[in-house]
Assembly symmetry: C2
Homo-oligomer: 316 residues x 2
Amino acid sequence: MSERVLVTGGAGCIGSELCAALLARGQEVIAYDNLSSGKREHIAPLTNNPRFRFVEANVHDPVALDAALDGVSFVHHLAANPDVKFADDEPDRDLRQNTLATAALLDAMRRRGITQLTFSSTSAVYGTSPVQPIPESQPCRPISLYGATKLACEAMISAHTNLFGLRAWVFRFANVVGGRVRKSGKTVVSDFIAKLRANPRRLEILGNGKQAKSYILVGECVDAMFHVVDHAQDSFNLFNLGGDDWLSVTRIAEMVVEELGLNNVEFAYTGTEAGWPGDIPRFRLDVSALSGLGWRVKHTSEEAVRSAIRGILAIS
Amino acid sequence: MSERVLVTGGAGCIGSELCAALLARGQEVIAYDNLSSGKREHIAPLTNNPRFRFVEANVHDPVALDAALDGVSFVHHLAANPDVKFADDEPDRDLRQNTLATAALLDAMRRRGITQLTFSSTSAVYGTSPVQPIPESQPCRPISLYGATKLACEAMISAHTNLFGLRAWVFRFANVVGGRVRKSGKTVVSDFIAKLRANPRRLEILGNGKQAKSYILVGECVDAMFHVVDHAQDSFNLFNLGGDDWLSVTRIAEMVVEELGLNNVEFAYTGTEAGWPGDIPRFRLDVSALSGLGWRVKHTSEEAVRSAIRGILAIS
């Protein structure tokens, strides 16, 4: 039976892909987004579907949010500040867009008795873990306000599952790439493409290039979310989401160079261990809990990133 | 050498005891409190000391906070909502008084370059732990918004230690009792005393009486804080603070009956496992990290609670 589903951040990279998948499953979908980082073009292909509706508003706006929640039985909460870097001119950005937005949503859901929620958390909650790959049981010591404010959301969700009958699925994502990608240069892939187009002889690489992280294609990410919601039935369900491999920044630079058909590009490293303050230089996720539910990633981190590179080059 | 120290929540139960101890150590002390739960009488004995100053203001008030931070080199952040229960008429109380107040303080400290902080966290961050006694490495699954918003503070502090050169000592307190106690009936001890004075024949006990928790005297708590600050020198230092025993609610009721000189009191249990939604029925703290620094609690939970009972009866 069709149910009405709200997707906050529905015009974002993951949100728009999730909206499309929910429509394909026969759901009635409301994409809710303030377009601070989401884009209309991400959801343009969905707007002709009579089961789709777009609401341009802030999660902080209590009137707009409450109206959008009317008749909704399931919320996918993806709205967030997507940039891990600290913004000196907006020091409370992560607090507002992550923690306060989530608190507002949780309270609105409590008032309306809406009891199903997925939440897009992040592997950044762990900080620099001495244990690799990192299991969900690893103590969290975030090194960025992005990671800290996402962990705050997880904690409030945990409390709501105990106090108010909420059922929640919390995902600590690897780096999600591909799909309706942002073109504005916020990811390492789009950053390298933009820099190499400006100067095809020399590429500045933040850090020492040895940063190594785990990457997953957005389509697979959405697929895993559905799988977990269908198969994990605790009140509070927490899963690392990704594969268990990793890929170095230098290797990504090499792939971008290859895909652009360039040669003899000089790599100029800024030299620090982390790309920027708050960047986690190296991490892999222990995904045995996810595997235990019968889901495994189909593409390696390298395949995911190569696909993302080609996706960006095809449309820009 | 004397340094200027700010104690938020300085008129509270722990804060006022800490102010007295800091003055005894020769520090210049500013107690900062909005008196929402703190009380002037707690700090009255300190006001004649020329090195003591009281500021009545909210941590949220940026002008008052920034002024109070002038010349300060160390902050003890104890201001918080002290009540674990959810307040239906004020659902954002924990968020505001814990998370937002701490975020405001951290940002004000960052702007002023103040780099030393203690923070009063709580064993409530763990939620209902399957592991007892609970080590600091146990994953946190808070079951109250009180615990969730305190965990959010820990996470932001962790990020600030990485990003902005902050050094922090975070304490997950057992139940702190005794000292300049609140008389308003917020603790189990003062609750039982008030009820038995109203009706000395029958005592209503929230829960099944088997709730068992760890208690520490406020004087010992403050002593442990100093010890840890003096001996733990990581940038982010996290310690369970208490003893490793526990004490049942029924035993506390028996002790209050004894100390009041009553007999044949009927105990009427409300019967649930937890005292109220969000209450953690049973917990003990693994304090081996604290022991490893050479500090051990001197009084058992039972001795601490008996001392607290006598303290309240002596002044009320």
